[in-house]
Symmetry: C2
Subunit: 115 residues, 2 copies
Amino acid sequence: MQPTQFYKCLSDETRLRCLLLIKAEQELCVCELMQALDESQPKISRHLAQLRNCELLTDRRQGQWVFYSINPELPPWALNVLTETLNSNPAFIEDDKLRLQKMGDRPERTRLCCI
Amino acid sequence: MQPTQFYKCLSDETRLRCLLLIKAEQELCVCELMQALDESQPKISRHLAQLRNCELLTDRRQGQWVFYSINPELPPWALNVLTETLNSNPAFIEDDKLRLQKMGDRPERTRLCCI
DNA sequence: TTAGTATATATGAAAATTCATATATATAAA
DNA sequence: TTTATATATATGAATTTTCATATATACTAA
């Protein structure tokens, strides 16, 4: 993970909001992110694709939905940067979290592991 | 300090090399950074101005030289990000450090505080 | 089962915007 | 005057956004 490439990913507001929201919520699908950020579908999808290509995110398809989460193989220093940013800037995704909570009919997750 | 603005500053290779090198060396002037990064004067100067405007760096003039250092009022989370990045990616500024060490006639600092 | 339709996501192509760099010039100190 | 640094302008390059469309899965009714 090149530092410059990593920070380029964090330097766009849409991408950073997606990343921090996904980190806070474990995993989110495209339609949830559209609602939370109040942005268009292609815009969200494109930025997620970029974050996946740069290996900051991984995705899994579950039926019609594609869920994105933080890549578990992200280097520790990069994960620490995300953690520090999220913990110290809760206001940055405050509105997004509220819109997400207000969203009805959120897709159900099939848990990857159970009880 | 807006996270997005902060990360935009770190997303350019020239700026990130300047920042991490200044962090490693406490303070550096434009001509030292030119030598260390092997880049043109206006290019270095312009990026330093941007980092100063965004309040990541502060400057002090000492005679003919202007020395740049990390802004002591940088929020702790942002400073932690820089520290983590520097500690975990020593190779990123390795060559720059070597060129700096090879540089003869480096400007003398008047210490801000002594003993 | 199949046909038709709806929903979720991805992507090609173009337009709009932003960013980085080089050149030239200006300012400040010694 | 020389050295060190800053800044204005022009230009090319990269990035972001939008629109239109494609693909993949799901649902419903015959």
